[in-house]
């Protein structure tokens, strides 16, 4: 782990002391849940520390609430995935249910995957999942979704381009 420059951790520390109660209130007003709020406040400052941009923030509250908002959306998204995942697990025949460790790892993978697909439109995303994860032939996808084969091809190409570039950008 690389040491933070002292000036940076000082700046973040000062921001924390001055604005974390405010951020706490801001989030609590929107979420109501105590535990989540405290976590998100911490996560927001951790993110700030990692971004190394704390030294030149002009409007701290605007900046903090923007970061916190992003984290809050991630959390909501994660919750809805979690629910879908538990339902999918429950519908599996007992013999096919993975071990709890494998379940946890798989879930993290799905969260990443979901994030990767986030920029795609709903239909494009659906086509991609059916083809790439469910392994359906394109013709069957076209029938199932009531769209032309040509559209399936276009959607798939768009999705593959997106996923490939995301992975490239992520340095994989």
């Amino acid at each position: 782990m690389s040491a933070e420059p002292p000036a940076l951790s000082c700046a973040v520390g000062a921001l924390y002391v001055e604005h974390s109660p405010w951020l706490h209130g801001w989030l609590r007003k929107r979420m109501g849940n105590h535990c989540d709020v405290a976590d998100l406040v911490q996560d927001t400052f951790v993110k700030l520390l990692k971004a190394r941009s704390a030294l030149d923030i002009r409007e701290p509250r605007h900046y903090l609430s923007t970061v916190a908002k992003g984290l809050m959306i991630d959390l909501f998204r994660r919750r809805s995935l979690e629910q879908a995942y538990l339902e999918a697990l429950a519908s599996l025949p007992p013999a096919q249910v993975p071990s709890s460790e494998a379940q946890a790892m798989l879930f993290e993978t799905l969260v990443e995957l979901d994030h990767m697909l986030a920029g795609l439109g709903a239909k494009v995303r659906e086509v991609f999942i059916l083809a790439q994860l469910d392994g359906l032939p394109y013709a069957q996808i076209a029938t199932r979704l009531g769209i032309s084969l040509r559209t399936v091809n276009n959607h798939m190409a768009k999705a593959m381009e997106h996923v490939c570039l995301m992975q490239w950008d992520a340095g994989e």
Binding site: R28, K29, R30, M31, G32, N33, H34, C35, D36, K69, M72, I73, L75, F76, R77, R79, S80, L81, Q83, A84, Y85, E87, A88, L89, S91, L92, P98, L106, T109, L110, L113, D114, H115, L117, A118, G119, L120, G121, A122, R125, I129, A131, L133, D134, G135, Y138, L149, N153, M156, A157, M160, E161, V163, C164, L165, Q167, W168, D169, G171, E172
Partner: protein
């Protein structure tokens, strides 16, 4: 080694994606293969992009197909759509203050009521704060021994003030009573049940002498004729209404509309075929027409307004 791709590399990836799809969908004929080979060999950028594309295609291979696909499909809607709903909520501080009316009457004896679509904040005689959600009715019974609210309909948020006379503060519903233990909490009541959610400190729920439960911050519980239900954790939807928003987390459409319908006069319903569709997002309750527009923009749904007071949601054709 890997930096972000240059524009030329991006263009090569775009072409590689087309080839990837063409090869996957084409019947196995030599013609297509030969054309691909020509494209592949004609430029080092193409070869690099193709390698990346194949790696991308293969990276989903190890997942248990059914489980992964059904999870992602059920979670449905993209992040952007959740974002859209949230943007409505977070973007305008306007929503937060709209519809709030302060009532600082120090003395009162009459019932407190809020109209459909209205939220009202009331300061009670002891300094406690009471916020009434849409279409709610409360009686206030303060005397020398106790501070009691009778919740007849709707939903309230209570922020108790400490009382010099140390009178207990409670909210009574027809299903049971909620005793505040120095605290902030919400109580809602409908035909079948009541629900209490604790935001700060704790409360005690009691149906009678033997059926009691202490509930701490971050928890909620339903109670009714059948007794006290299981304790659940609060989620984002619990506190949101006080800001004029309805947060749905994988909520069936039918239920979402039932909740949203409390904020508008008339009939709001949906085609049974889409009632189970899972919706996530944040919707403004101060302007339920805007919420419906958001719903239409973010999900494959159409809102049919037969009249101002008769609105049906169906699948978009």
């Amino acid at each position: 080694m890997s930096r972000t791709p240059t524009p030329a590399q991006r263009e090569a990836v775009r072409q590689a994606a087309h080839w990837y799809v063409r090869l996957a969908s084409a019947a196995d004929d030599g013609e297509e293969q030969a054309q691909w080979q020509h494209w592949h060999d004609s430029d080092p950028l193409h070869r690099q992009a193709w390698q990346r594309m194949q790696a991308a295609g293969a990276s989903f291979g190890g997942l248990p197909q059914r489980l992964a696909a059904s999870t992602l499909l059920a979670a449905g809607h993209t992040r952007r759509q959740v974002l859209y709903g949230l943007a409505l909520l977070l973007g305008g501080g306007a929503f937060a203050s709209l519809g709030w009316r302060s009532d600082l009457r120090r003395e009162w004896t009459a019932d407190q009521r809020s109209a459909i679509g209205e939220r009202r904040e009331v300061r009670l005689a002891d300094g406690s704060r009471l916020l009434l959600d849409t279409d709610s009715a409360v009686d206030v019974r303060f005397d020398g021994q106790q501070r009691q609210l009778l919740l007849h309909r709707g939903r309230i948020l209570v922020d108790t003030a400490s009382d010099p006379a140390a009178r207990p503060f409670s909210v009574a519903t027809r299903f049971g009573q909620v005793l505040a233990l120095g605290t902030r909490f919400t109580v809602a009541v409908d035909e079948q049940n009541a629900e209490v959610a604790v935001l700060e400190k704790a409360v005690e729920v009691s149906l009678d002498a033997s059926r009691r439960l202490r509930l701490d911050a971050g928890q909620r519980v339903r109670f009714g004729a059948a007794g006290i239900g299981p304790v659940r954790d609060n989620d984002a939807s619990v506190g949101a209404w006080q800001d004029g928003s309805l947060i749905a987390i994988a909520l069936p459409l039918g239920e979402l509309l039932a909740q949203l319908g409390r904020y508008r006069p008339g009939l709001l319903s949906c085609d049974p075929a889409v009632a189970g569709m899972k919706i996530s997002g944040a919707f403004p309750t101060d302007d339920s027409d805007l919420a419906l527009t958001a719903l239409e923009a973010s999900f494959p749904l159409a809102v049919r307004r037969r009249t101002r007071y008769w609105v049906t949601v169906t699948r978009r054709s």
